[in-house]
């Protein structure tokens, strides 16, 4: 149960995935499609499990006041804030008020639109969006039109609807706009734009400084191999940016040649070797010869 059954499940799933490639029958494709869906759900659940595990690991540090416990409080507050902002609270509330559409005879055929917020934007008949302000009114031709109202900031409801304006009538639309919650919501997107995004990008930006430091302290042309590596790197770095052309007209061409010819020669060799290795390793996993992913007893 603990070892043999998982290996059997793995063998069946892997064998089916291999065989499906060669069997064009519809039922086989349908089963494969289902298996792929199941794997996608499991992958998502694994992320949720990982997130919960991080919280499980950090909570005891706070409770037992271990070193740096204050930072773990920040971590937990950040997680809680994002989780709460990510729940679609607006779907639990009452259904939103619909767009009010009224019509009155005025002698001229016109369209008047207003929204519950001054910063809304309007597009009529697929024209570019314009600020709606306190309201918009213009004569239009009788017949069908398209109206779209949105807020420039993310996280608010938007409408896009076809309307029909009858000759001699003024059609008035009052569009209610409400703030949304959840993954497309106002607060969630704000936290993504101003906390997650800058932090994620800056963490990776640190690498540019470390690569310069490593270039000075560690990259030595100790032998012919290293000299070739560094020489090629310098040519690529100069040749692929405009300053390379300013230094020497042939640098860009040489850099392109290095990428097209020796780089591709080596890459193809590595690719072919890696492909053979991947096939061998995958077969070992499917046949149960490779069991490290199942852990120890």
């Amino acid at each position: 149960m603990k070892k043999q059954l998982p290996l059997l499940i793995g063998f069946l799933a892997g064998s089916f995935a291999i065989a499906e490639f060669y069997i064009p029958a519809g039922i086989v494709r349908d089963i494969q499609s289902k298996l792929l869906e199941f794997a996608s759900v499991l992958a998502a659940a694994a992320f949720v499990l990982g997130g919960i595990n991080v919280i499980q690991v950090n909570l005891p540090i706070i409770l037992h006041r271990r070193p740096d416990w204050q930072y773990k409080v920040v971590l937990m507050l950040g997680a809680a804030a994002m989780l709460l902002a990510g729940i679609e609270w607006h779907s639990l509330a009452a259904a939103p008020a619909p767009t009010q559409v009224t019509e009155r005879p005025t002698g001229t055929t016109a369209l008047a639109i207003s929204a519950s917020r001054d910063d809304a934007e309007l597009s009529v008949d697929n024209k570019p969006f314009v600020p709606l302000g306190s309201g918009w009114r213009e004569p239009v031709a009788p017949g069908a039109h398209n109206v779209a109202v949105r807020i420039p900031q993310p996280g608010y409801s938007a409408i896009a609807m076809p309307i029909t304006v009858r000759a001699g009538m003024e059609l008035t639309l009052r569009v209610p706009v409400r703030m949304l919650w959840g993954p497309s919501g106002r607060v969630y997107t704000w936290m993504y734009d101003h906390v997650f995004g800058p932090c994620n990008a800056t963490m990776f930006a640190l690498l540019s400084f470390f690569i310069a430091s490593a270039a000075f302290r560690a990259f030595r042309a100790r032998n012919l191999d290293a000299a070739l590596l560094l020489g090629a790197a310098i040519i690529i770095m100069l040749g692929r940016v405009p300053i390379g052309r300013a230094i020497a007209g042939w640098l860009p061409a040489l850099s392109d040649w290095i990428i097209d010819i020796p780089n591709n020669a080596g890459r193809r060799a590595i690719m072919m070797g890696a492909a053979i290795g991947a096939v061998a390793t995958s077969l070992r996993v499917i046949l149960g010869l490779e069991r490290s992913h199942l852990g120890r007893d």
Partner: protein, 290 residues
């Protein structure tokens, strides 16, 4: 001997924070005082341009936007330029992503470029009629294999807003990847261009163009050379070159693009790294020779 030891000791004691400072200046100063050196589009980037330009007007194109906030400088200019290029050709667009970091970014970009008029003569696209945002699915290779067979099964037959596929005119007749005349990949890493080529390009004979980060460029050039990728724009330089091609195509000023502005930093930054390599080697070998 003493001089040799001094030189080698200098290398060991040298505070790397001076390098960090030099790098910081190399990044900031070109943004404040641009050089404005012109960039010349390479054949690989021109191939991307022509792959999109050769599309019949009104074609439906799938765009897989697999990015994160860190890859924005290298890939966001390509996305904006590609969407403008496709909109100019009147193409309908189907967006999806395989990266969990991407959805808010993609929604911003869709709002800025797809749902707005982003160049003279452009019009806002309508969701469902002109474009659809399918959203994110986890699973990496499994999702790519899944959409190769059946788009509806992978996305539960609905777009990111929950609208059923049957109510989306833009998806009529497009059930799997092979139905799209072109697939545009905006790919920051794995899963991305490499996985698409491995899992579905050869199997379903797909036409794919890709934009990738510079780190992935040398891994993907064999696929371009073999024709598995019709075009490849790798890194900020190629992205800026594509931006220039599209700006000329639309009659806009090529120097106004974000990619073009960022090129100056690469010019100086590369010189700093090369200087660091050369200086480190000179001091090292001088120390060894003595």
């Amino acid at each position: 001997m003493a001089a040799r030891n001094a030189l080698l000791g200098f290398l060991e004691r040298f505070d790397r924070r001076w390098i960090f400072l030099a790098m910081g200046l190399a990044i900031v100063l070109p943004l404040l005082y641009p050089l404005g050196l012109p960039a010349d589009p390479s054949p690989m980037v021109k191939a991307v341009f022509y792959a999109i330009d050769d599309l019949p007007a009104g074609s439906t194109v799938l765009v897989s936007v697999d990015v994160d906030p860190a890859s924005r400088p290298e890939l966001e200019p390509f996305f904006h330029a590609a969407v403008r290029h496709l909109k100019k050709k009147g193409c309908k667009l189907v967006f999806l992503t395989l990266w969990y970091q991407a959805p808010p970014l993609v929604e911003h970009w869709i709002k800025d470029d797809v749902e707005s008029a982003s160049f003279p003569g452009d019009r806002p696209y309508r969701s469902g009629e002109d474009y659809v945002w399918l959203g994110f699915r986890e699973g990496k290779a499994v999702v790519i294999a899944g959409i190769g067979q059946d788009l509806a099964a992978t996305f539960n037959g609905q777009d990111a807003a929950g609208t059923p596929f049957a109510e989306l005119p833009v998806l009529r007749g497009f059930a799997r990847l092979a139905d799209f005349p072109l697939i545009v990949l905006v790919s920051a890493g794995a899963p991305g261009a490499k996985e698409y080529v491995q899992l579905v390009q050869s199997r379903y004979n797909l036409k794919i163009v890709a934009a990738s980060t510079a780190v992935s460029l040398t891994d993907l050039t064999p696929y371009y050379q073999s024709g598995q990728l019709l075009g490849l724009a790798g890194g900020m330089v190629d992205t800026a070159e594509y931006e220039i091609l599209v700006a000329r195509f639309l009659g806009l000023d090529p120097k106004e693009g974000v990619g073009a502005k960022a090129l100056d930093v690469l010019n100086i930054g590369h010189l700093v790294v090369i200087f660091a390599i050369v200086l480190g080697n000179v001091i090292y070998f001088a120390g060894r020779r003595r």
